[in-house]
Amino acid sequence: MRTKITLLVNGARREVQTDPERPLLEVLREDLQLTGTKYGCGEGQCRACTVLLDGKAVTSCMTPVRTAAGKQITTIEGLAQNGKLHRVQEAFQEAEAMQCGYCVPGMVLTTAGLLKNTPRPTEAQIVAALNGNLCRCCGYPSIVAAVRLAAREQSNG
């Protein structure tokens, strides 16, 4: 039942021998040692495990690895380019949009996905995009502020 699956992770081809039904989250964390993607609930309800699949935010705990084959997978480790943080990463730091930090990878990738398709989101669009990404430390005011900041920097730049 193990099969060879080719994944495109953060711009690199990675081959794994695995049960094709295994959650992408598990393959990323255990087979590829990309532990920045977090387990929170295993049923798509906290979105700590969010990654981008062809630019769209998905919950990797609910994504069988076979369905990710051949698609561009971006994890939190792949967002910074050439040693420079992605503007969303910078904005989360600047807006102090974290306490424990466990939800941050999922929040950052959800935001990156939002801004890719909606460069100037309204407040309502921001809140709707983040809905379901659970943060238990901050509430959401500082996180919404970080998204606003990232969107502003994007339109300025």
Partner: protein, 747 residues
Amino acid sequence: MSSQFQVVGTRPVRHDGADKVTGRALYGADIQLAGLIHGFVLRSPHAHARIKRIDTSKAEAFPGVKAVITAADFPVTPDRIVDLGEGDTPLSYVRGNMLASGKVLYKGHAVAAVAATNVHIAEEAASLIEVEYEPLPCVLTAPDAMKDGAPILHDDLRMKELGEATDKPGNVAEHFRHVKGAVEDGFQLADKIIEREFSTATVHQGYIEPHNATALWNNDGRVLVWCSTQGSFVVRDVTACVLDLPVSQVKVTPMEIGGGFGGKIPVYLEPVAALLSKKSGRPVKIVMPRQAVLEATGPTPGSSIKVKIGATKDGRFTAAQATLAYEAGAYPGSMVGPGAMCVFAAYDIDHITIDGYDVCVNKPSTAAYRAPGASNAAFATESVVDELAETLGIDPIELRLRNAAKEGTRRADGPKYRKIGCVEVLEAMKNHPHYKAPLEGPNRGRGVAVGFWFNVGLPSSVNIAVNADGTVNLVEGSTDIGGTRTSIAMQAAEVLGLPAESVLPSVVDTDSIGFTAVTGGSRTTFATGWAAHDAAQDVVRQIKERAAALWETTADKVKHSRGVYSCNGKSATFAELAAKLGETGGPVVGRAAINPRGVGGSFSGVITDVEVDPDTGKTTILRFTSFQDAGRAIHPSYVEGQMQGGSVQGIGWALNEEYYMSADGVMQNSSLLDYRMPTSLDLPMIDTHIVEVPNPAHPFGVRGVGEANIVPPPAAIANAIYRAAGVRMRRLPMNPPAVMEAVWRKP
């Protein structure tokens, strides 16, 4: 912000920010070790049952399995009373909650554990363990558990009554009483007396990172542990105690922690992983599935509370009485103690009697949750105070101000307040634009409430080593849940006259720093920050000696101001002197190990506007302003972050969150789909207003800010719902069905 400080009160970027936004921060489950295998814990399907027999042979024979353990694998030692930081408790109870022995006491109670080459094999093998149970009737609430004839959890439990041991069996572990004055005399002086009963549901702390632990029982006999905990030394001491080892044989490395809120103080997995490691000879990692987190860790107690307050016509409280019964869960030790201390803590009342009951029920053993016990109690008191304000025709903030606790007020449980900020918080609320803003429209209402929570002191240790490039490495034992690395480093930076970025903080393992108590009790910025202040002063003292050596004078003649050392016209910066340590005597390390006194409590308040949908009973928060006395806000953004976070948890507790239990004690909503915590769509912006009444006992005036903010929200929302919908809600959560039912019952 006061100009007397250079660093305190500013908002530097956090030291751990880059690691957290890039996914490089290593949390407990991220650890990789050579030869690592994975553990899975088998849990009871029954809420209450006798274990007749456990047969692990099929699991042991399953391919890929390396070890199987049950409670029989604990060392055989006589039971004794131990104090592992949360009060006296029998060792058998501590062990019993890690792996059940004799009986299971809640659904999800750990029974056995398996380690295998991967977690799926471990899980499958665990399902092959045969456990023969004799199911017993269960009891799920404090009032039911206190009845004669209720099923009894612990055959050996005898009630402690007013401080004395008794021979009374049952589920009540303890009944205690606080008395101040003569409460009946006080009620005689009242023109109006209101007495009401309240109840609150079991709720969970809800951290996003599940519990996890990795252990290696090394060949030299030492047990190495990596885990997610609020207190590495608690894990060390509990693990050593349970495994009957000297504390020096256990080394705990605290990994990054993905939220705790009190729920990551208890130890569940570490000794289990250690025993699996001992048996298999391999390092073993266990990560709790979310369902186990909800069913078997933490929650905060459900409670039943009666509050009675008497007042004169002009709004002076004459007497107050409360009876609090809190569900401890499976083992004694609910948070009724602090609940009872906090129930009237915001008020200066001459005559008070408070009774507390700690009651065992067939639910998971309860743990601390942010100001544990206080939110339940404030929900009751602040609702009655609101009703008194309405009855007496006095503005609710004004009524609270007339009775507010102040310096010199003695609480019913004994202590007399030093300088506190209760009045200042209430004044800030009264003068805030939110309170003066009109609130128009049907089905809308505004509510207020206040709350109190302690700071505990407890031991903290900090070492500061000076680097030749003019920076310092600060080493501490307090795990950082919400930004304390930075708030502690800032206090050292202030003393050293350096920018916050020049102090590099690290949270280290239990071998590498002196004993440090848990990150809890709003103590870390307060106590470990104090240790950082003292360790930095130790550095300054030594740097003065080095400057004196260079300038051929004595240290007492060297002056230090904002990072510049001077004497007789000569001066040098910290960095210049740090570069010359080699020629002036070698390395400089400052140290402090303290157990601070003079802790000061923190008061908080909430003003909130809500709208209640008359057709569905759904409450929407329109506006929410949180007030809190921070003493001195070291990093104001972090103080605001704590206030917002506590407010959001309080809103979830007020409106949504609840353990739905079947009659046979099975949680019906043990997933994050059904245990619904607030999301971004549920919430308004949370406005914050920091009040600063410096704590005179702390070098910078700090009061811990982590917890008091969760105390007033449920009561404030209840009071707002009353003004919006005309119903007094006396049970949490105040979800749509509960509000609709109250509306329909309204006469």
